[in-house]
Amino acid sequence: MFYRLSGVHHNSYVSESRLYRIPADRNLALFFLALGLVAPLLVGSLYLNSYLLPWLVWTAAALGLNLVTGWAGQLHLGYAAVMAVGAYSAVHAAKFGIPWEFALLIGGISASVVGSLFAFAALRVKGLYLALTTLAMQFVMDWVLTHSPAISGGSHASLQAPTFALLGQPITSDIGLYYIAFSWCLLVTVFMLNLRRTGLGRALVAVREKDYAAAILGVNSFYYKIVAFATSSFIGGVSGAVLVATFFFLAAPEQFSVTVSIQVLAMVIVGGLGSTIGTFFGVALILLAPGVVNGIVAKGAIALGLQLNVETLAHIPTATYGALIIIILMVEPLGLGKLYGNIRDYLMVWPFDQLKR
């Protein structure tokens, strides 16, 4: 149903290696692309800029982390630190008078340099040790940010970002900022989708799955791990900068604290390691669910005429949200992306569901 393989014939390798081989997948993707493009016409600026925009930017960021953790299989607990490097470098560059296009690039490159230098040292260890080393990176970055006023912007430890501008045109409207976030997320998404059909993506999976088998095929695992760290740090750095430029408008250390690192990792894991569409779901859940649950609980309490004290009101959403994550991971340990995949596979063979594998 909806998804059909029958009647789909590819008569060239190019056609067979399209991003979406099944028409329904392609149509769905195009539908969401169109929805994203016309969103400013559909929703008010409150929703656009306080829900949709951060969702898109965090998705771009989480996709970057998914590259290193999901694709290359390297646990990373210091991703927010990498985002911070990007954000602060970009804001400082912009304050210095460098056009924002280049400031973003500078943010990405400096994050990439810091991220891969760090990986260079960290990759001598594996698994949990690597995770701990990346966590150390996060703490070092936190310390640097809180102890160097020159970087973090003086005694208030907040750094005002200059007005975002493209080609010299200042962009201040809500819609303009939304499209900046939208474009960045689109670029990263397309990159991640392309990974599925290029040698880079295959090499990363090979390194993750069986490094000795990868080696005998000529894949240098150390090199590809560094490439994964460098690329993911670039994506994280630019995402951090875009987040400050279009959403926070000022950079502060707590925006990139260890809690944030863990939150991004949660987005990736709940969404599904290596899954692009899953990352969109994962970010939506982690970022937006607390607000939604909060709203429901508050409204529900009023509707039922319950007198809940402030403390209970604050705890219920957190507990619900935690339970939600646990339930999702219990139902499908591979995350929301896999859950979607299961539904799609089921519909693909419906009504012959005995064919289901």
């Binding site: 088998a213 990868a214 080696a215 095929l217």
Partner: protein, 272 residues
């Protein structure tokens, strides 16, 4: 399989070219265990060379020494006359050595096609920019390599399963996919570690045919580790037998299998 002897004699004539692979006095220890010692072997161009021995006699250790996973503690290894002792595995691969593993080393979660495409890695230049600019940079390269892969898929008759995940296919086919992945790298030297383990007679026959055809069509030299003596005597030009990490006999298969020490090792040893 009689015609193989003639092939061998023909190649004997041009034995002047340096051997594809030459190992001199290889020794490899693991802690206190001497896994192999004093192993010499030389594989000529276009030759299928058999390596046999009871379980634990050090066959896999020899291939691990050649491919750089466990460099020898003593001795040297030459590939086409070039010293490659201790070279890292990923570099050995770029020098034209491909191998399959005794315990299958396919990448689960990937399709048969993607697994085989990975075999083309050394002929491609994957990177971040080609991925970002797929349509302009990566696609032409991917398509060119896809054609090479499709040739091998056809050769090994894997067309019907190319889009299946490797996780789910039967072991006999997995072994064939791994052979395909090694072949698409267009190696000079192919090392096969028990490619027919766990196969029935028919599958073994297919595999033997594939190995002979690969040599005939692609001029590949093969180092074949096998427990099935009928296969070794059937398709190998020369062979070497190991026992407890030491060479016990080498030469023409029909002579080696009659060597009393080899008979002893197999009948007296762990292997029935």
């Amino acid at each position: 399989m009689k015609e193989m002897d003639n092939n061998y004699n023909r190649r004997q004539a041009d034995a002047k070219v340096p051997p594809v692979l030459e190992c001199c006095g290889i020794e490899r220890r693991f802690g206190g265990i001497v896994a192999v010692t004093g192993v010499d072997l030389s594989i000529r161009r276009g030759e299928i060379f058999g390596l046999v021995g009871p379980n634990g006699s050090g066959k896999t250790t020899v291939t691990n020494a050649i491919t750089g996973f466990y460099p020898p503690n003593k001795g040297s290894i030459y590939l086409d006359g070039k010293d490659i002792t201790g070279t890292a595995p990923h570099k050995v691969a770029t020098l034209g050595v491909a191998r399959t593993f005794q315990n299958l080393a396919l990448f689960n979660g990937m399709s048969v096609l993607e697994n085989i495409l990975l075999g083309r890695h050394i002929h491609m230049k994957p990177g971040v920019f080609p991925t970002a600019l797929y349509w302009w940079l990566a696609r032409p390269e991917e398509m060119r390599n896809r054609e090479v892969v499709e040739e091998v898929i056809e050769f090994l008759q894997l067309e019907s399963i190319r889009n299946e995940l490797v996780d789910g296919i039967p072991i006999g086919l997995k072994k064939r996919v791994e052979l395909a992945r090694a072949l698409v790298a267009e190696p000079h030297l192919l090392i096969l570690d028990e490619p027919m383990a766990g196969m029935n007679q028919e599958e073994k026959g297919y595999m033997a045919r594939f190995i002979l055809d690969a040599r005939a069509e692609r001029g590949i030299s093969v180092l074949l580790i096998e427990h099935h003596m009928d296969v070794i005597t059937g398709i190998c030009d020369r062979m070497l037998a190991l026992n407890y990490g030491e060479m016990i006999a080498s030469g023409l298969p029909k002579e080696v299998v009659k060597d009393p020490r080899v008979v002893d090792a197999y009948i007296g040893g762990a292997h029935g």
